[in-house]
């Protein structure tokens, strides 16, 4: 592909502006010392409804939206692509119910991470460690997806094509270094501030795309007709070749379970991710998040129209075997160069914000639940912040390993793989917000069962081009149809946890101590903090 100079210049200009903003963010709305984890990692817990809306939306509006979902719609159609719309609708009622309770208990006990909560709730640092490990592990492919998003944009602009692999990867490495540097200096304030610019760009690009492109392509009716024709063609070709059709214009009877479990599993998983929790805990009041859920579906609506870019690419006759390039190539084809540059910048910056939030969240997990709980119980707040900053760098290298080590064509699989792992923390975190019925050891055993089963099943999924981790659905035992592995693993997880809890209840002495009380789940900002009871090394606060 030849280089598009104008688009590249516009994109670089916007990207540089955002990078400067990221460094300047260190000074924004700062009350306390940046050298504590509350300041660096939670922005001082001071964000109101407006900032929270942007921050939470930023969690959803990632390269996932712009690259992975249209790519999946382009290559696979309704089941593997459009489920994201159902998923991003169903996530908000879940947030509405769960997150105010998590906010209250975290506020009261100064919990920074979901693993802090689990440690305190079940009196088990080991269970907390399992939750922290899962959080860090599942964020790596999700951050990797963001890097893949940036890479797709660079590919579509024709940067470094045909040259050595080092030159090709150089811009990505530069973007990665910029990201690492401003996260290191500014903490959560950087992505929160950049989120404004990012959303402005994204909204402009989305609005222009969903109005301008359909007009150019002859209306939505024509776009859907082209997708349907493409599906029929693909099915006929598959039949002739004796293989299974991959593209679905509508879910068929065989894929109802896959569609429903992908939507439900992803919705349940999103707010188990440590970075989503970070966005919630950084808000000022208990009900900030709840009020936000009324307006946040606006993001879901945008996602739906962005998903349709995949069908628009089909209607426009975009031909690529690399489905993650579907939307960027469509932009390049239909827009004038300068606006394609704006669109590419929107995607790249849209990947940068969540990648920063995610790496901060993963770093917080490492610091609080591995470093402090197991290695240096007496770490000072300054030490915690320093360790977090370094950990955030390490996590980005882990993400890079996923980019290099996995097949990234079906980018949506990166996110679905993370979902398989993170959903296994649901019984400890989400159920734990309401009841302490489960025994801590039973939760641990259930988690282990879910993790092992989920990883094993995902490893076994192959496609004609990839041997392992080629997808996130596998046959559901008993039912027989394909379903999202995360949900099957969660069912196994819960079964193990229930059975073992019943057994372990015979020995009440092993239950562990709960530092939270019923009212802690209901308090608001003006109702005071509890000194951190029982958590190792925190009495100093």
């Amino acid at each position: 592909m030849n280089l598009d100079g104008v688009a590249l210049a516009v994109a670089i200009l916007l990207f540089a502006f955002v990078a400067v903003l990221g460094f300047a963010a260190a000074r924004w709305r700062r009350l306390g010392e940046l050298a504590t984890l509350d300041e660096w990692g939670l922005g001082g817990r001071s964000f109101g409804g407006f900032v929270t809306w942007f921050l939470l939306g930023g969690d959803l509006y990632t390269a996932y939206t712009f690259v992975a979902v249209p790519g999946a719609m382009y290559a696979l159609g309704a089941v593997s692509g459009w489920f994201a719309v159902a998923y991003t609708i169903l996530v908000w009622p879940i947030v509405f119910v769960l997150m105010p309770r998590l906010w209250s208990v975290a506020h009261r006990h100064r919990f920074v991470t979901p693993a802090d909560f689990v440690t305190g709730r079940f009196g088990s640092r080991t269970l907390g460690l399992a939750i922290a490990f899962t959080g860090i592990l599942s964020l790596m492919p999700y951050i990797a997806l963001q890097l893949v998003g940036i890479q797709s944009v660079l590919d579509a602009m024709g940067v470094g094509s045909g040259s050595s692999s080092f030159v090709r990867d150089l811009p990505l490495i530069i973007a990665c270094v910029v990201l690492a540097a401003f996260t290191y200096t500014s903490g959560l304030r950087a992505p929160a501030l950049i989120a404004f610019v990012k959303d402005l760009l994204v909204y402009v690009v989305v609005l222009v795309s969903v109005i301008y492109i359909p007009i150019k392509l002859g209306g939505y009716g024509h776009i859907f007709a082209a997708a349907k024709a493409h599906g029929d063609q693909a099915a006929a070709a598959a039949k002739a070749a004796g293989t299974k059709p991959t593209f679905a214009f509508l879910p068929s009877a065989k894929s109802y379970w896959a569609y429903a479990t992908l939507a439900l599993g992803s919705a349940m998983a999103l707010f188990m991710y440590p970075h989503s929790v970070t966005g919630v805990l950084a808000s000022k009041h208990r009900n900030t998040v709840r009020r936000n859920t009324v307006a946040l579906p606006l993001y879901s609506l945008m996602l739906a129209f962005v998903a349709l870019l995949g069908f628009m690419a089909i209607a426009d006759g975009i031909k690529t075997t690399n489905s993650r390039l579907a939307a960027p190539l469509l932009f390049r084809d239909v827009f004038p160069s300068w606006f394609a540059g704006v669109a590419f910048a929107a995607i790249a910056i849209g990947a940068l914000v969540p990648a920063a939030i995610m790496s901060i969240a993963a770093a917080n997990l490492f610091t609080r639940n591995i470093w402090r709980d197991f290695i240096r119980p007496n770490a000072t707040p300054q030490e915690e912040a320093t360790v977090s900053k370094i950990a955030s760098l390490v996590v980005k290298f882990g993400a890079l390993a996923f980019v290099l080590g996995m097949n990234t064509q079906n980018a949506i699989n990166l996110q679905l793989l993370g979902g398989i792992w993170i959903l296994q923390t649901f019984p400890s975190i989400a159920v734990g917000l309401f009841t302490r019925w489960f025994h801590r050891w039973a939760l641990l055993a259930g988690w282990l069962a879910g993790m092992v089963y989920g990883s094993y099943e995902a490893y076994g999924v192959s496609s004609p081009t990839v041997n392992h981790f080629a997808g996130a659905t596998a046959s559901i035992p008993i039912i027989g149809d394909n379903g999202y592995i995360a949900v099957t693993a969660l069912v196994l997880n819960l079964l193990v946890a229930i059975v073992l809890t019943l057994v372990l209840r015979l020995s009440p002495a092993t239950r562990g101590r709960d530092v939270t009380a019923g009212d802690d789940y209901l308090v608001d900002v003006d109702e005071g903090l509890v000194p951190e009871l029982g958590l190792a090394g925190t009495a100093k606060r």
Partner: protein, 98 residues
């Protein structure tokens, strides 16, 4: 299991009559629960809407029905927010209690 610093009485002092538990406002809670569950039933029952027709503005039924539920669900969340948070807060301020 462990001790809390604030008794329920203290808590309710701070927030007037905000219903924090199901027993404080059972009707509001049940209505909210049904409203919030509706989208799950609608969207996870895939065979009920995996059809091409009737189309709307060029969108096959499957696609526009999903978007319709996006709006309906936002409305349901607004209703639940009004019932559980905003409504009680308004009533409280009307009575002049802070």
């Amino acid at each position: 299991m462990s001790e809390s610093n604030a008794t329920p009485a203290q808590l309710s002092n701070g927030r007037g009559d905000q219903p924090l538990r199901v027993r404080d406002a059972p009707v509001a809670y049940v209505v909210s629960a049904v409203a919030l569950a509706a989208a799950f039933v609608a969207l996870l029952w895939v065979p009920s809407y995996a059809h091409a027709t009737p189309t709307l503005g060029g969108f096959p039924f499957f696609y526009w029905y999903s978007l319709l539920w996006l709006l309906l669900n936002a409305g349901c969340q607004l209703l639940a927010y009004q019932l559980l948070v905003a409504g009680p807060r308004r009533r409280r301020s009307r009575r002049g209690v802070t």
